[in-house]
């Protein structure tokens, strides 16, 4: 279910009025999570500044941004761990803004998994299931262990598991009481890079199988683009853009979003003085000989990426496809950079 197109906010419209949580005129299913104008003011500044977005069942929204942009604070505010200065949080149609965390139906997965060290895995998972009878609880625990693909570890203690296993158990625990939304705060940051991919896949699959609405916070842009049904870019407390990954990557609303999600260079727009054209390294090509010069290069495996000083003094990043037989350009070598995009260049302010 993708409501991206309809829920898209452009940077220059972000200062508009706070939208109503449920846009009933569009006859959509009710959002699992609705964040409306949430603001958190700490020490003289707005750490979270009027953020609004919706998450539907089965949808994974990834919030990405640099350190200190307020994404974790936003998550904590949604969870109820920290209070909000303004705005509302609505879960499954109920305004939970005034409720403490234990009364909200949310699941939380932390970077450090935060499993209860003094309880076994099955006891950890069952912690939120006190309303169920013993048999039901056991059944649910087994279900969840299957879901995260760790059927045999029920009787172990957290410290006996690997990092990736711990994180999956943390997810299972969060999912157990069937929350309205699952919040994940940089869940893969402390895992080994080689394991990260597998754990990520497992987590996303588990969430999908449960049709759970989820918000995942990360500072890793590749992760954001790879995992999210929609990606939201935050900076300095504001949510700059939230849209499908390919939309935010290829059609960012402003320079910050553009450069945050990938290398980008900007060319002046001939048609309009205060707009620019965005080019990604793969939109350009470079040939030997000319008035530009290579100032740096690095090898990415799939391509050589050069930084080229153009004759007008600006710098651009250019990719040259790799492969056996390719001779890379040397540093200092003269070259020419041309636009070779195969699609119209995206225009954005600035």
């Amino acid at each position: 279910m993708n409501v991206g197109a309809l829920a898209r906010f452009r940077a220059d419209e972000a200062t508009a009025t706070v939208p109503t949580p449920m846009d009933t005129t569009l006859d959509l299913p009710r959002a699992a999570l609705s964040v409306a104008g949430v603001t958190r003011h700490i020490g003289g500044r707005d750490v979270v500044d009027r953020v609004s977005f919706d998450v539907a069942d089965g949808e994974l929204v990834v919030i990405v941004g640099p350190s200190g942009c307020g994404k974790s604070t936003l998550l904590r505010a949604i969870a109820g761990l920290d209070p909000t200065t303004a705005g509302q949080v609505i879960l499954d149609g109920t305004d939970v803004t005034a409720l403490p965390p234990e009364k909200r139906r949310i699941g939380l997965v932390f970077q450090d998994h935060a499993l209860f060290p003094h309880r076994r895995v099955d006891q950890n998972i069952a912690f939120g299931l006190i309303d169920l009878g013993r048999a039901d609880r056991a059944r649910r625990v087994d279900e969840l262990l299957e879901l995260v693909r760790l059927p045999g570890v029920a009787k172990r203690f957290p410290h006996e598991l690997s990092g990736g296993e711990q994180q999956r158990i943390a997810l299972a625990r969060a999912l157990a009481p069937d929350p309205a939304v699952v919040l994940l705060d940089e869940p893969f940051a402390s895992l080994d890079p080689s394991l990260r991919d597998d754990v990520r896949t497992d987590v996303v699959e588990a969430l999908r199988n449960r049709n759970a609405a989820a918000v995942l916070v990360t500072h890793d842009r590749e992760e954001a683009l790879a995992l999210g049904d929609r990606v939201a870019v935050m900076s300095e407390g504001r949510m700059l853009q939230i849209d499908r990954p390919d939309e935010v990557y290829e059609r960012p609303d402003d320079r910050f979003v553009a450069t945050f999600l990938g290398d980008a260079s900007f060319l002046p727009d001939p048609t309009s003085p205060d707009m620019a054209l965005m080019v990604r390294p793969h939109d350009l090509s470079v040939t030997p000989g000319g008035s530009d010069a290579v100032t740096a290069r690095r090898y990415l495996g799939a391509a050589w990426r050069y930084t080229v000083r153009r004759s007008d003094g600006s710098d651009v990043d250019v990719d040259q496809a790799g492969g056996p037989g390719t001779t890379p350009l040397a540093i200092g070598e003269a070259c020419t950079v041309t636009v070779d995009a195969g699609h119209p260049l995206h225009r954005l302010p600035g």
């Binding site: 060290p117 003094h118 309880r119 203690f157």
Partner: protein, 371 residues
Amino acid sequence: MNQKHTRQLLGSLLFGALVLGACGSDDDTSSSDTGVTDITSTPDTTDPSATTATTQAGSDSADASGTITVYTGRHYGIEPVFEQFTADTGIEVRFTTGNDPELRERLIAEGANTPADVVMTADAANIELAADAGILASVDSDILTGTIPEELRSEDNDWFSLSQRARVIISSTERVENPPTTYAGVGDPEWQGKLCLRPSTHPYTQSLVASLIIADGEARATEIVQSWVDNDPLYINSDTDIYNAVAEGECDIAIANTYYLGRLLTENPDFPVEIVWPEQDGRGAHINVSTAAVTANAPNPEGALALIEWLATDGQQQFADANFEYPADPNVEPNEIVVGFGEFTADLPAVRQLGANQPTAVEVLSATGYE
């Protein structure tokens, strides 16, 4: 990890606290049941009717059975004396021990609520301070006025000495030929480095200095104490250790109580230390006393008086002998070892004034640098 056990342990501990706390807070009930501080624990000597009375709980007033409650700072050897009292009279005695000043503070704080009938001290100054604080009761007893000499009881008849102890000069029998015969003489330079004294914190020392003030005035007393200090004495906070120090050659002379020698001679008749009676040409040796008094708010003043009267008469011998002291009643013969110390003149008139002069004594001790 035994977290479950930890939880259970904590839980049961907390629960146990409530239970035990409830039981434990029954202060006297529980203690009376064990009955061990109460002298009545020894069978055969008690009147059955008296025994039942001791099981009453925290209520200390309206003590119909007659149990007498004593706060005593003189705790050495006191229990057999009380036992004998109970054997003779059938009245129970329960007592608590402590340091004199602390017991006094407790009596002052308790005020009208005090359970104590009798207070006993190991020294005169402390009982005088208690009298000054208004916590003693004046009694009218012919027995007491008859047996205890006037100088050994207060003018208001609110406290009575039960035994005397002399604080004298002691010297090594092996090394000292001419020990000093006055307290001032202890300060003679020939005893430089060979002198042992009790520190100023102890009431014995303070009372001794008070007696110097009474005899010669503050200025002269200061001179005398200064001369002691100039002799670089070894300060030992135990008379027993002082005696041992003299015996072993750490010092040649010292000032100490006579009764410790009694204990030491009992163990070792050849103990090489002798008593030198000071001031025999003048006022006599400094005397301090063990005292007893009825408290101002005693729940059982009749019993209190009965106990003190007994201690002054039938109990005199035992009371004094238990600690090798001299009975307050001059007609009672002391223990034979004590008799062996010799006849001496005692500075009795000073006894009543020791309390009043004690603060000055403390100042003198401070001023002279006496440790």
